[in-house]
Amino acid sequence: MDEFIQLNGIRINATFAEAFDMKATRLIITADDRQWATDAAAAMTGFGTSVIACGIEIAVERELAVDETPDGRPGVAILAFTVSGKEMEKQIPQRAGQCILTCPTTALFAGIEETTPKSDKRIPIGKSLRYFGDGNQISKMIGSRRYWRIPVMDGEFVCDHDVSRIDGIGGGNFILIGNNVKAVSTACRAAVQAIRTVDGVITPFPGGVTRSGSKVGSKYAALFASTNNAFCPTLRTMDPSSELTRDESVAMEIVIDGLSTAAIAHAMRVGIQAACDSQTDGGLLRITAGNYGGKLGRHHFHLAEILK
């Protein structure tokens, strides 16, 4: 905690965020109008903040204009991350079936560009959902892509047969520390807004921010994660592992999952910059990052290097 650089008078600890390999994919939701597309995306990405209990980290990457979607309608791109391919194969069809298939006028497409030869790591979409058609579903090959057309009450639900799974990275992060909730909230919101302009990353927690950052393990055997004592202000005076100083009373964390190290590093850079540029009236004091000493994740994002 001793070494730091300064950005707009805010201390940036010379530490690093430790991130892990994950499995990732991108899906594109389209609909007749933007309202339905965003409603479907909101449902699909619900309860998808952390793999710890949700099984998946999933959020909107960005909104897509009509000329960016496969069918020329308004759309939303979402990114999903899991710890295993098997979990992804379970989560995506379940969520697509309950959240996209159910939403009026929507269609669901693969958002990962196909390689040649085609990747054999596939996540089913229509491959699973087609059975809802009860024998009335229609498979349609257009070019090299197989779509499914499932009769539903507003016409047809159209979706890709499957989507390829790629390697992703989860757990890029930085922690904003200040002396009041309003200031840290303001800084977090500025950071998340800046990060949302970056392609290939998501911030899966509510509003892109979590106040319950976790450490690995627990005194309770059944739990493999528990509260991050080091950044809990109420434990500062009684926990020797606390990393907070006397004037630091609030900490919030922004977790970033991304499709590449470059995307996460870029997102961290613009996020930290935006937080430091935000109007917090001196309430934002310090930015640091969460790690486990470099022993668990192979991706290390050093704040000092990122901000160079």
């Binding site: 069918d71 020329g72 009335n136 257009i142 070019g143 779509y147 047809e156 159209v158």
Partner: protein, 266 residues
């Protein structure tokens, strides 16, 4: 993968079985004289290919280009699997028979049984794409089970007969008995077809994003191959029209428990 240009030098006196003119076989041959020695069955007589065609090499990759009026040449592109066959002229019957991949572009007209199975085979086209710039004869896409056939002009009777899957678009008039015994698959035509009400449903108004998907993919493909004159403007216009304005859909053929669809503009 060698590419070859075959230019017709003289019209044959009889119909020709052109099965031997296969891109898959020709792409493995490096010597034009070897190609000229290939035997074609002309009527009941075998005849060297070199008697009918001049042969020269092309610079492109995995392509066979034929030039001339080939209406007496049947089974051209039979069992085609990959690469591009371009025919600058018209072709006879069974062009693209049982093809399973690649592209065939016919700059003129096609005869009967385009992409259909030959002899005692029961499966027609199972992949790839055929574009016919002019008209096509009867039984287009007979027993088709995958792939796309785009006819810029008119088509004869029994379009999509016994079709199992795949897409056929005919951008001008069609003959009688469209979709006869079709089980699945999509036929897109310009006008309401004259179908039996006992075998096909009443038309219903519908909309589906599958039409814009087909239109966009076809447009992208046509644009990519513009230099090779793979244009299919009439087909694109028709698909665009039903994508934007919606379409009417007829389902059948109920006589065989079919769920095929015939789409046409509202």
């Amino acid at each position: 993968m060698n590419s070859w240009l075959l230019e017709l030098r003289q019209q044959p006196e009889h119909d020709v079985d052109a099965s031997a003119i296969s891109l898959r076989a020709l792409a493995q041959i490096g010597d034009p004289d070897q190609i000229k020695r290939l035997t074609l069955r002309c009527g009941q007589e075998p005849r060297p290919l070199g008697d009918l065609f001049s042969v020269s090499k092309l610079q492109s990759e995995n392509e066979l280009r034929l030039v001339g009026d080939l209406t007496r040449f049947h089974r051209l592109g039979i069992d085609h699997r990959s690469g591009r066959i371009t025919i600058q002229g018209s072709v006879g019957n069974y062009a693209g028979a049982m093809m399973s991949g690649g592209e065939i572009f016919i700059a003129g007209a096609a005869g009967d049984f385009l992409a259909a199975p030959v002899d005692a085979f029961r499966s027609g086209m199972s992949g790839g794409r055929i574009v016919v710039r002019d008209a096509a004869g009867d039984h287009v896409g007979h027993r088709m089970r995958r792939g796309e056939i785009f006819i810029e002009g008119a088509a004869g009777d029994f379009v999509g007969s016994h079709q199992i899957a795949g897409t056929i678009v005919v951008a001008a008039e069609i003959g009688k008995s469209i979709g006869y015994a079709m089980r699945r698959g999509t036929l897109i035509v310009t006008e309401p077809p004259d179908t039996s009400r006992t075998r096909f449903s009443e038309p219903i108004e519908a909309n589906s994003v599958i039409c814009p998907l087909l239109g966009r993919e076809t447009k992208a493909w046509a644009t990519k191959n513009r230099a090779l004159s793979f244009a299919c403007n009439n087909v694109l216009q028709l698909v665009d029209r039903i994508a934007v304005d919606g379409f009417q859909s007829i389902r059948g053929d109920f006589a065989v428990g079919g769920q095929g669809e015939i789409l046409f503009p509202r």
